[in-house]
């Protein structure tokens, strides 16, 4: 395996093999597998789970990692392609990436959406241009439109709990939030569930439909897997018979990058907060999922979040095992 940019780059068989490897590593440690191997971790956006789970993953496999993050004492990064660097910024991304890559056997990059243009973000322009500068395999640790490590961890979580794939109903629900969040997680999640063969419903209020290109891509994955993808703003209909409710706040594609317009749109949407009553028409064992961090009392109530339906800690924990499988596939085979 040469890096991981998107779940859609993997076949169903490759996903299954990664999850199988993740389970194997969880139960049969390999503390020498990546001895002497180095993972370079480059964060341009904040992180709790991703930075710590990748560090833990490398340690568990006998290797190591280093982190460069927004608060590091580096020299100020310039991203503009043609610029006379006579201001505060002392280092250009076109040197920083190849240098960091040259110290690692693989390079993880996180860069949230710039949100200057919806089309550019769906094309994942910024991330792809950074990724192209690396001389070693790149792992996408969340870009403008992708979060494959989260999706692989979520897939493993669903498998472990025997949530049905064929015939399973997966509801990805928009949730309220004080900020306009990126599209990476919802875009990855709808794709993951569709690729797993589930019947996916995107539940969202008017104005928060996922971009057409994202939905079209998920539908193609569903066509291959035997699943389906629908969308609605009718909560009762969406939640009826659900096996999973995956909540997530995301930006309005319609008002992308326009925070004021989005705030206006959200004025009356405070009831888009998952409560126990959401599960009334669902299957009895219906699960609650979220990628974290999550706003209590805004996205979901504490009793659902901490109740028996909730998989959020297990999802987070599976980040580590899923990433160990990715790292093992990239680095142990290249040795």
């Amino acid at each position: 395996m040469r890096g991981l940019n998107d779940l859609s780059d993997l076949s169903r068989e490759e996903v299954d093999a990664l999850i199988e490897l993740a389970i194997r590593l969880e139960h049969h440690p390999e503390p020498e597998a990546l001895a002497g191997k180095v993972l370079a971790l480059f964060f341009l956006s904040p992180s709790l789970r991703t930075s710590t789970s990748f560090q833990a993953a490398m340690t568990r496999l006998g290797g190591g990692s280093f982190i460069v993050s927004p608060e590091s004492a580096i020299h100020g990064l310039e991203f503009a392609p043609d610029v006379k660097m006579d201001g505060d910024k002392a280092e250009h991304i076109r040197e920083a990436i190849p240098v960091l890559a040259s110290y690692g056997d693989a390079l993880g990059i996180r860069a949230f959406a710039p949100k200057r243009s919806l089309e550019d973000d769906i094309d994942d322009r910024e991330f792809q241009s950074m990724s192209a500068l690396s001389t070693v395999p790149v792992i996408n640790m969340e870009s403008a439109i992708r979060h494959p490590c989260q999706s692989l961890a979520d897939w493993k979580t669903l498998d472990e709990l025997d949530v049905p794939s064929s015939g399973g109903k997966f509801v990805l629900s928009w949730a309220n939030h004080p900020r306009a969040l990126p599209l990476a997680v919802p875009a990855s999640t709808v794709h993951m569930a569709a690729m797993r063969g589930m019947d996916v419903t995107v539940l969202r209020p008017e104005g928060f439909a996922l971009p057409d290109r994202v939905m079209a891509r998920a539908r193609r994955a569903a066509d291959l897997s035997g699943g389906s993808v629908a969308e609605t703003s009718d909560a009762r209909d969406a939640l009826n018979g659900a096996h999973v409710v995956y909540a997530k706040a995301w930006s309005s594609a319609k008002h992308y990058g326009n925070d004021d317009a989005e705030r206006e749109l959200k004025k009356d949407l405070a009831h888009w907060c998952v409560t126990e009553s959401w599960f009334e028409g669902a299957t009895p064992e219906c699960r609650f999922m979220h990628c974290l961090p999550v706003r209590r009392g805004v996205v979901v109530t504490p009793n659902v979040l901490e109740g028996p339906r909730s998989l959020v800690i297990q999802q987070a924990r599976n980040r580590m095992w899923a990433q160990m499988a990715i790292l093992h596939s990239i680095l142990a085979t290249s040795s």
Copy 2:
């Protein structure tokens, strides 16, 4: 051993065994003992010695660690139990702790005293509620009222120098300081010396008596060990025949959390700075101890701090060996 919350949770035999293990690891490295094991380090308060000595400890045992600290680029932590999270804080401690714990084989937590209530801090409320959220063994890296790693390192230091336990006179002296510091180190230190069987005198000016519950607990430890615990504001009397002077600034329990009242109380206490003259009535080889960081010219004069009596660097170095023994006891046996 399942975690370490307080020295008082250990029997005298357990302390001796930990110190013996620390000495063994110092002289006979075990660079494979914790291969593939991960220590999660969670700092809610600043650290120099603790963060670096724990990282070094894990490396020396063949494992690894990761750090989340106040300056990390995380999402803003919420601690309030029932709150609608629609402000700046994006992640609740009730998710953060279980997630970090899920990546580690053990979890170290540091959280200085909130100082909202003396009783709550003596009960160590905040730390215990965080500790309860962990699914893996927790190591107390300094809480409102405890610093067991420091005390274990200090105990090892005293043993190495053949400072007498039975019949040894240990003076814990209050010292001046521009800030109102926590009670964790004095409370742990008086307990440690009492548990070691020494004759402990707490020397402090009026208004700076340690809380009754702290003193009572230390007296119970002295009853078991054959030591004693006294307190006085008479320096000459306290220092007479001393084997150890352990200096430390701490807050007034009487004016706990009230910085103005404490400042007023300290107006005329600038002479509570350890000088060479303090040792005139002490035993000739009387030692000077401090947990660091220390304010030169305020808590102690440079000539004492850098002179032959001073154990401060050895104490700091023993943090590493003591913590290696703790980690080895928790993690090597659980493998």
Copy 3:
């Protein structure tokens, strides 16, 4: 080997042996060589390459490292020798260094020039006084006047590309920059090239001559190696027949520490930016070198920086291999 303070502390044979070892480690990994060994990394100035390449180096040799950096949540460091510490600063460098050293098997220190006095900085006063506090071998990670790790990496880079030593023409050229940068890299670089036996020309505008003591030291190295050291402000003459152009901005020694005077001096020096036309009289395969970070469009044009002459990424990558050789020499032999 006991630490590394300056390239001039090494004989030509020792440099050759280190480079040979660096090449061996690059091609024949030794992931167990430093198992259980700890490198303490203490940064008082910002770093991208140095901090990440040292961390990667230790991992590749099976050991580990920890970092204390300017943005760490430590307690505020005091450097003044005799001071009553009743202000914001809670820890003195005279405790911090011995403590950090006590956790490591070696200690790397970075501290840029204080720029209070040119003579003090050429004597490397601050660094040497910090280095003297360590109980373990110290590695100079860039001080006021030295950057031996960079020079060793550059030397390896020149060797790999068969840049001639005897008879090779090495031009160290001053370049424009918005800030007044330290002398460490130019002083180290002129010494490195002279010690390698090259014919070195320092090309710089009036007012930017390197200090006499720096030039005299380089000339002594050239006398030993059979090289030569000259200086000029005539670009055409300097660049004629060059095998290497090494660009670097540095402060005016004449106006050392006086930023206003230096800014005035640089008003008309914007043309000291390396362009392709600089190479017209050079050898056809003439190389471009820079230690990074580099200001595009100020120090060098993007087409030279990213063109076939440029060695900047290779130089940066060789930092890691050179440092692995240093660490191996210090720590593997001391085990």
